[in-house]
Symmetry: C2
Subunit: 161 residues, 2 copies
DNA sequence: TGGACTATGTTATAACGTAACACCCGGTCA
DNA sequence: TGACCGGGTGTTACGTTATAACATAGTCCA
């Protein structure tokens, strides 16, 4: 079980365990798909996992550069693209940024709650929020972007504006 | 009544009327709010209204430039920002682009159906798609981004891949 | 008519993203 | 074994999207 992965809220019980679990799931998933979680890709995933906030591609790149793992934009974009393609990370359109997937095991159409004060991003499930209007319009959905911006519970207490 | 404004689907009966109506509503709304729909802002809104597809800020800027109305990015971004702020246009995060609002009268939390084949964007209503998970997480929503990408009815017929 | 405010014009640069090609490395197959 | 093949990474160069900061001009009103 993956109880320590943050899931649906803004807290995870034990973040080190949360990261370890997520990396394990990622390894298994790559194995199953016959793709390689190389050192670079794994490190990028770890970097994303270290924070509950999203990171821009250039933020990730700065970390890689500091560690001698790469300094040019395509290095970061390629690794992030790999993670997104394989469901190990998600792109937050609103922020032009990336977060590690909080539920790497399950197929899902994720939705995100983005705190504008602290930057934390919680992954949750959408249900099929747009199915009804899409069906009414005869539209065939392939992908959805569901993002809410606002204040997380902690930031509603005084820190908020 | 605004029957000719496209609303919820990919067709509007009479696009010229649709544009005229939308401009009229925009004028009334600016009047009511005590803000000015200047020639530039009005022209940008017309440019957006001319297409059911979204336009990038630089696409709009190219049109303005061709008409001698401005050639530098801030000119376009400021006008677009004004329209978005006053509910006369919306930003499509997925595309880094803008569309005219299809329902400028009503307060709404819009959702969008984006055809990846023809670029048409239909505005629809979200309901309160993310309310439940947000409430469960104690998150206070201020704004939502709800966008679905796929194929519009016309593009599902043969033109689709 | 001058002051305050809003809008527009302009420069310069920041932030985000990718095409294209060079190189390297591990596997495999004649 | 060495030629090749494919995926991954390194690098250059550039394209696209967006904004800060300051200058100028129009509008309103006392």
């Amino acid at each position: 079980m993956q109880a320590s992965i943050r899931s649906g809220g803004f807290a995870c019980g034990d973040h080190a365990a949360c990261i370890r679990t997520a990396i394990g799931v990622a390894e298994a998933r790559c194995e199953a798909r016959g793709v390689r979680l190389t050192a670079l890709r794994r490190r990028v995933l770890e970097i994303l996992l270290e924070s509950h906030a999203s990171m821009g591609a250039y933020d990730v790149l700065a970390r890689l550069d500091a560690e001698g793992l790469g300094s040019k934009p395509p290095v970061a974009y390629r690794a992030l693209g790999f993670l997104v393609d394989h469901g190990l990370a998600h792109r937050i359109e609103r922020l032009n940024a990336y977060v590690a997937c909080a539920r790497p095991g399950a197929a899902h159409d994720p939705a995100f709650l983005i705190c504008r004060a602290c930057g934390a991003v919680a992954e949750t499930t959408s249900g099929t929020a747009l199915s009804r209007p899409a069906a009414a319009a005869g539209f065939m959905i392939e992908q959805t972007v569901l993002e809410a911006e606002g204040l997380c519970p902690a930031c509603q207490q005084g820190r908020a504006s």
